[in-house]
Structures are given as structure tokens and as C-alpha cells.
């Protein structure tokens, strides 16, 4: 039919390929057991535009695009490429038709070079011998053409996350993809890397590619897209020209109601409750992950830790929670030395910890909401008669917490794995905060959570701050850190490279520090940011 014959994929004759002008998806229905993931969704993307697909987690964005890429088959509806109906059985079919997809989790082999990864799975132009030199030449050519700086001979494991993403894009371009789907491409990038990515995307659009940009971040969508389609609960809420919409309007379409913007007044911080001195710890790979951390969090203060993933944030949180041994230094909570204390002693000292991997560390998938609520307090005399558990009291308490924290669950007996990410996190928050801790360590509290729940969690953190708790907020989401923190500490390679007060540094300056530029240099790099003492604007819509 309309699909061109399989080409020699060596890439040399790429220019001979006809570009797709338009892809239409019409009335797509996709059902999963108990869920209508896509409900008569229509979507189209044209050559030379960025069409953003915006929606909360679970709105059906990725599901829709996976059908376009041949990973799922639609239950109903059809896909048209330049007016011709197509059906894809596998990604191989979609790639052959000229569609590429950049996944959130990269599909690269770490022990192979960039060139080898690009060539992987393709026929060589001189079978049975490899043609890696030809591939490398073409990779170099493509990376110049699109501004994708990457060394074709570097091994994947040597590359930063941003560079790995470039390899993924090169792979798609090498396979002559004219329409490329990017699934939450900015989630793993620093602000600088996002800038570079956007420049590349603009170049690709100029070259006549069509791009689908999946995201739940409003400002990115506004910055890069020509059109935007909002999905909610599997349905299309609307498609707009980006220049005609406002951020608030998009937020409303996405959530289905007005989104509150909290404003918290600056408040006087009290005495230091969490003191970390020269803390050192080893990482999982046997290298030192924390190389002397000094940090203090006072009562009524939120200190945010900003940094690119893998610079010691996780190890810091685990050290504080008692899951990782400190090799040197001290941790004081309300003046009490907890450096080598057991988890029980930490809990008793008033330390609460919301772990980064909530399903791995913070909750037990198969257990009910009720059982998860008592993970820490099951031995408390409040809920036991001697050795026996008092299920009646537990149930009453859990029901009250579920109500207070607006956890949406069919019942207390529902296995927690059946809840949405936001409701699981609310359950964990309820459990931790109801213990009335003095120091709260919150690691990635809103990762992978929808706007509504994020808004709630942020509000809750601010309430805890107002009540005099000391909060250490560890997040890779720079907007979240900037919105909530009284002070921001930037971590790089196991050290804190700088601590700045609220509003004292721009995202760009923080981004430079996150990339390892020393604070003085980073702060000098851009004109001084607004320094006036502003009220924190807590926008859940980040």
C-alpha cells in the first residue's frame, strides 16, 4: 500500500525517502482491564510542527502514542498516514513507516559505543561484514546537521543522561524517522540540557520533521509547541494553537477545575532541628557517594536539595532514614546524635522519612491500605493489646486518616498497589505526618504524581512548615524546589556546592551549579536575579 518498500537501512540513501506529511489518529479506543485508557481519541500531527500532548499521569498520553508506535494495537479506530490507513503489528512496522519514538527510559546498551547502538538491529551495507565506519560517518553528519553533540566512539556508560537522550534521537533520525514521538523527554534533564534539547527540536522542525511532545509540564509545552492537545481520563478535552492559550487555561483543561496557587508568607525560622556535619557515606557501587555534607534545617524551614539525579541525594536521604551507614560525620536531630542510631531510635527521636522509591521502600504492594498505614506504628501500645493487634482501633484511626488526607480508595482493605501514585503517596504522607515528627525528610515527594495530588502534598508540606517542623525536601524537580524552599542547597558529586536563599538565584544559575560550576562563578554568570524578599509563590502547576 502506501508504505514504501523496505529500504536499505544503512542510512546512505536516507535523502531518497519521502517524508510523511500528516499522521491522523481517528476515534482511537483502547481498553485495559477495568480502564478505558483512550476513549474515541482523535489526534493529528503535521510535518514541520511540534504538537504537544498534555495531560496528567494516567490521562492516556503514552498509551495513545504507544499505539502509534506499534507497541499496542487500538481496540477501535484507525491510523492514517498521508490519508492511507495503516496497521502496525510491532515497532518495527512503525519504524519502517517513518515513525520514531524516544522513550522515557532509554533503550541503549551501556557497554556498546554510540555507533554500535545506532547500528544495532540494522542490516549492514556489506553483509556479512559490519559497516560501522559508514554508520559512524553518517552519525557524525546527522549530529552536525541537528546540533546533537555526541562522540560516536564513546561508550554509552560514559555519557550523561542528556547525551544518552541525544543518542536516542540520533537512532531515530538514522532510521529515517520523519515523525518522532518524545515521551516526557525533559523529565531527566537539567535546565541547560532542556535548552539544548529545545534547540535541537526546533532544528528538526525546520528540517520538516513532525514532533509529538508528551509532557505534563505546562511551561515546557508553552515554550516548545505549535499546537497542544489536552487529554484527561482518556478523552480529548481540546486542541488549541499554543499562541492562543494561557497557562491557567491549560491547567484548567488538564485538571478539570481551577488550580489553586498557594502563597506562603516568609516566616521566621526557629532553632536548628536537623544538623548534618561532614557526613560521608559509600554508594552502592563502592565509590564514595557523600563526600562531606554540612547542612542545617531549622524549625519552620524548608530546605530544598537541588541536583541532577545520582549526585548523592538518594544516599543522603537513606543515611538520614537509617537505611545506609554513615562512614564519617554526624547527624543530629533536635540535638540528639542519631548518626549510628537504629531506625526505631530515629523514629522515636521524631524523624520521619518519605522515601524516594515509594513502592519499593515506603509501602508494601500486596498489603491493604490499612496494613500500610501501620507499617511503623504496629507495635505502638495505642494499637495493641499485649501481643495482639487491635484491628478495631487501627481501622478507626486509618479511616480518619484516609478522610483527612483525602485518599481515594474503594476501601481500607484494597491492596495499595491498586491505588494511583498520588493516593499511595497521600497514604504514606498520612502515615508519616500523623506521627507528628519534628524533622521530615521528603525525597521526591511529587515524582510521578498528578497535579491535584501534588498541589495537596505541597500544601501539606507548607502547613507542616508553618507548624514549626524542619523539612528537608530532596527533589530533582527544580521548580518544586524553588517554589517551596526557604533555602536551596545544590548537590553535585556528593558535595553541597552552594546554598542560596529564596529568590536569590535563577533557574539558570541553579542549573549551572547543578552541573558542577562553583557558586561564585555561577552567580556571576547571569545578571543578578531578583533579590527582593518575595512571598514564595507555590504553584502546583510546574
Amino acid at each position: 500500500m502506501a508504505i514504501p518498500k523496505p529500504r536499505n537501512n544503512s542510512g546512505a540513501d536516507a535523502t531518497a525517502q519521502r517524508r510523511i506529511q500528516r499522521i491522523e489518529m481517528c476515534d482511537i479506543v483502547k481498553r485495559f482491564p477495568g480502564v478505558l485508557a483512550n476513549d474515541r481519541v482523535c489526534f493529528d500531527v503535521k510535518a514541520g510542527e511540534v504538537h504537544a500532548l498534555l495531560g496528567e499521569n494516567g490521562a492516556g498520553k503514552s498509551t495513545l502514542m504507544r499505539q502509534l508506535f506499534g507497541l499496542y494495537k487500538p481496540d477501535e479506530g484507525e491510523i492514517l498516514i498521508d490519508g492511507q490507513r495503516v496497521e502496525f503489528n510491532s515497532p518495527a512496522d512503525a519504524i519502517r513507516a517513518g515513525i520514531g519514538m524516544i522513550h522515557q527510559h532509554f533503550m541503549l546498551v551501556p557497554t556498546l559505543t554510540v555507533t554500535q547502538n545506532v547500528a544495532l538491529g540494522l542490516k549492514s551495507s556489506r553483509e556479512p561484514l559490519t559497516d560501522l565506519d559508514v554508520v559512524a560517518k553518517r552519525v557524525r553528519q546527522l549530529s552536525e546537521e541537528y546540533g546533537l553533540k555526541v562522540d560516536p566512539d564513546a561508550y554509552i556508560w560514559q555519557l550523561s543522561v542528556g547525551e544518552q537522550q541525544r543518542v536516542e534521537i540520533l537512532k531515530a533520525l538514522y532510521r529515517n524517522a520523519s515523525m518522532i514521538i518524545l515521551d516526557e523527554p525533559t523529565a531527566v534533564l537539567t535546565p541547560q540540557e532542556v535548552k539544548d534539547l529545545f534547540a535541537t527540536l526546533r532544528r528538526m522542525v525546520q528540517e520538516g520533521h513532525g514532533l509529538v511532545f508528551i509532557s505534563h509540564k505546562l511551561y515546557e509545552v508553552l515554550a516548545i509547541s505549535d499546537r497542544v492537545t489536552v487529554l484527561r481520563d482518556g478523552r480529548v478535552i481540546g486542541t488549541r494553537e499554543t499562541k492562543d492559550v494561557t497557562r491557567d487555561e491549560l491547567a484548567r483543561m488538564m485538571v478539570g477545575r481551577e488550580v489553586k496557587r498557594l502563597r506562603a508568607q516568609p516566616q521566621q525560622a526557629g532553632e536548628p532541628l536537623l544538623q548534618i556535619r561532614a557526613l560521608r557515606a559509600m554508594g552502592d557501587r563502592g565509590t564514595e557517594a557523600l563526600r562531606g555534607i554540612d547542612l542545617e534545617v531549622r524549625s519552620g524551614e524548608i530546605v530544598g536539595i537541588a541536583g541532577v539525579s545520582g549526585n548523592g541525594q538518594r544516599e543522603l536521604a537513606e543515611c538520614l532514614g537509617g537505611l545506609r551507614k554513615a562512614t564519617a560525620g554526624t547527624i543530629l536531630v533536635a540535638g540528639k546524635d542519631l548518626t549510628h542510631a537504629s531506625v526505631q531510635q530515629r523514629l522515636q527521636a521524631g524523624l520521619a522519612y518519605i522515601p524516594e522509591e515509594r513502592m519499593r521502600d515506603g509501602a508494601i504492594k500486596e498489603f491493604s491500605v490499612l496494613e500500610n498505614m501501620f507499617l511503623l506504628d504496629h507495635a505502638s501500645p495505642k494499637y495493641t493489646h499485649g501481643i495482639f493487634l487491635d484491628f478495631r482501633r487501627m481501622r478507626e484511626h486509618a479511616a480518619a486518616l484516609v478522610k483527612e488526607y483525602t485518599v481515594k480508595t474503594p476501601s481500607l482493605e484494597t491492596p495499595i498497589k491498586n491505588l494511583s501514585g498520588g493516593n499511595i503517596q497521600k497514604t504514606i504522607m498520612a502515615r508519616e505526618l500523623s506521627r507528628e515528627p519534628r524533622v521530615l525528610v521528603a525525597a521526591q515527594p511529587s515524582r510521578g504524581i498528578d497535579i491535584g495530588a501534588t498541589e495537596y502534598i505541597h500544601q501539606r508540606l507548607l502547613e507542616q512548615r508553618a507548624s514549626g517542623q524542619a523539612i528537608l525536601l530532596i527533589s530533582e524537580d527544580l521548580d518544586e524546589v524553588q517554589a517551596l524552599s526557604d533555602r536551596i542547597a545544590v548537590m553535585y558529586e556528593g558535595r553541597i556546592v552552594g546554598i542560596v536563599g529564596r529568590g536569590q538565584a535563577t533557574a539558570e544559575q541553579l542549573g549551572l551549579m547543578m552541573a558542577g560550576v562553583p557558586m561564585e562563578e555561577a552567580m556571576g554568570a547571569a545578571p543578578t536575579a531578583p533579590t527582593a524578599e518575595q512571598p514564595i509563590e507555590v504553584s502546583s502547576v510546574v
Binding site: 500500500m1 530515629r346 507499617l375 501481643i387 495482639f388
Partner: protein, 374 residues
Amino acid sequence: MPLQIEPRLAPSRLANVLAPLVAIVLALLFSGILLVAVGVDPLETYRAMLRGAFGSAYAISETLVRATPLMFTGLAVSIAFRMLFWNIGAEGQLAMGAFAASGVALFLSQSVPWLKGPALLLAMALAAFAAGAVWGLIPGSLKAFLGVNEIITSLMLNYVAILWIQYLYYGPWKDPQGFGFPGTARFPDDAVLPRLKDTAWLPQLFDTGRVHWGLFLAIVAAVLLWLVLDRTRWGYEIKVIGENPRAARYAGMNIVRNILLVMIVSGGLAGLAGFSQVAGISYRLQQGIVVGDGYTAIIVAWLARLNPFGVLLVATLLAALFVGGDQIQITMGLPAAVAQVLQGAILFFVLASSFFTQYRIRWTGRRAAVVGEQ
């Protein structure tokens, strides 16, 4: 493919009940084909097995006798498995329990004058529990403190325990009046668990047969275990550690202590199986005490989904298969292997059927041929 396999999001009650029943029917059909192939009427065979296992008070009594040690070892294995501690050593723990109970009955009762009547039985049970617990604590502490794989250590210790009791009843403990038969002397009368038919105050369900008080002990153990696992904070901790050890550490639970405690209970219960066998059936330590019940226990625990009451039920059904299998050997002249084939088939189908409780298969209908590269 017009068929699609999807995970079930919510467990289906119907599937949970239906799957094992359908599996048993399929297993009977499957074995029926084999029976026809060797020229036997399958229906007749099944009827004979059923009669052999449940056809009379005596038959039921024999089935329960066979089930009793399986109940103990099944409970022993299931509590360890709840914590994902793979105790393959119930066989050896049973042997050590039998050894300790026999030692108390034969020798300690001689030197301690007040060890008589119920006190003697109690001392035997406690000794058996303790010996099993020690045998379980060896792999338990190796795992807890040194991280040694418990599957290997608990399995190897079985051979040590079995050879140890063989050494005793072939050697130093051999009955001098036993005409060379391998086994110790008979226990004193106080060291014998009464049979139900001899227990006057019980309603006479069994006026015949060997079924003894060990059965009650197993049922009591199951109830206690259920209470502990389902109603106490310790049971909750065991479940947490089994499901997600990282979350257990996050919640400040002491994993080392829990491994040791669980292995004490697990080994102790298996030790009680040994006590129940020597004090209830053989009245001496001899050949035929250790016959694989520690391994069958793994199947019992698995089929019962680690539920204590499920263990009682599954142990009885498996015992019925054993006893029924022996019966067709006698009445129909069939090899006992037929019963083993049937057991194997049932286990295989039931285990495979659990797939359908977790997944469902959906008919998606035939779709239009796919446009690829025409």
C-alpha cells in the same frame, strides 16, 4: 493473535475457587487416559482409592494417621515460607525431634523419677520441639548473620540428621532383645500418645484404628499459628519481611531476630512431627519414621497458600491419596506408582491453574491482516 493474556487487576473469587476444582478434574481425566492405556478401568480405580481412604472408620483413621505428620511439617514449612525463608530442612528437623523424644522416653525417664504420666509426654514434646528448633536455627543463623543460602544448608542438614538417628538405632540405642531388628526398645507405657479409641471421655468416632492424640496437637498448633500470623504484631512483621524486606528495614524491623524466631518455630513444629510419630505410632525409634514428610510438606504448604487451616485440609487430602494408593495396590493388584502418577498429575494441574487466578485470557477476535510492506 486473537488471544490476549492480561493480568487481573482485582482478584476474582470465582477464579480462585474454580481453578483448583477444574485442575483436579483435568488431572483425573489425564490420569484416566494413562489408566486406560495400561488396561484398567479408571472409574473403578478411583472408586477403589476413595473407598480405601474414606470408605470406613478404619480407612478414615488411617488417612488421618498419615495426615498428622504432614500437618506438622506443612505448618513448619509454611511459616518459614511466609518470610521467604526457604526451609527445605523439615525432614531433618523431624528426625531430630524423633531423636530427642526417644531419648527422653527411653533414658531420661529412667534417671528422673518424677518423669511419669503426662509429665513424661510433655517433656518428650518439649525436647522434640527444642531439638527441631536447634536444627532449624543452624541454617537460620547462618543466613541471618552470614547471609549463607538457607536452601543448601537446611537441605544438607537433613542427611546429617537422618544418618544420626540411623546410627543410633543400628548402633548404641539398638534394642538388645530386638532379634537384630534395627530399632530401639519399646517406650514405657507412659511415653505413648493415647489412641482416640482408647480415650474414654471422647465421643467414640473411632472404635478402631490407630489415630492418636498427635492429630489434636496438630490442630491446636494450626489454630495457634493462625492466631500468631493473623492477629499479632509479630505475624505482621513476618508478613512485611516476606513481602518487602526493604520496607521492613525502612520501618525499623529487626530482620535478624525475626529470622531466628521464625526458624525456632518452624524447626520446632517439624520436631513435633517426629515426636508425634514415635510416641503415637511406632513407640520406638526405628526405620520408617523419616519417609519424606519434610519434603511433601513443601507441596502441602504451597497448595495451602501458606494458610494454617489450608495446611490441615491439604495434608488430609494428600494423605488420602497415599492411603488410597496403597489400597489399590492391595485390592486391584495395581502398582503403587499409579497413585504417585495421580498425585503428580494433581499437583501439576493445581499449580498450573494458579496462573488463571492471576491472569485472564481474552478473546480479541480476528483482526484484519496487517499492512506491513505490501
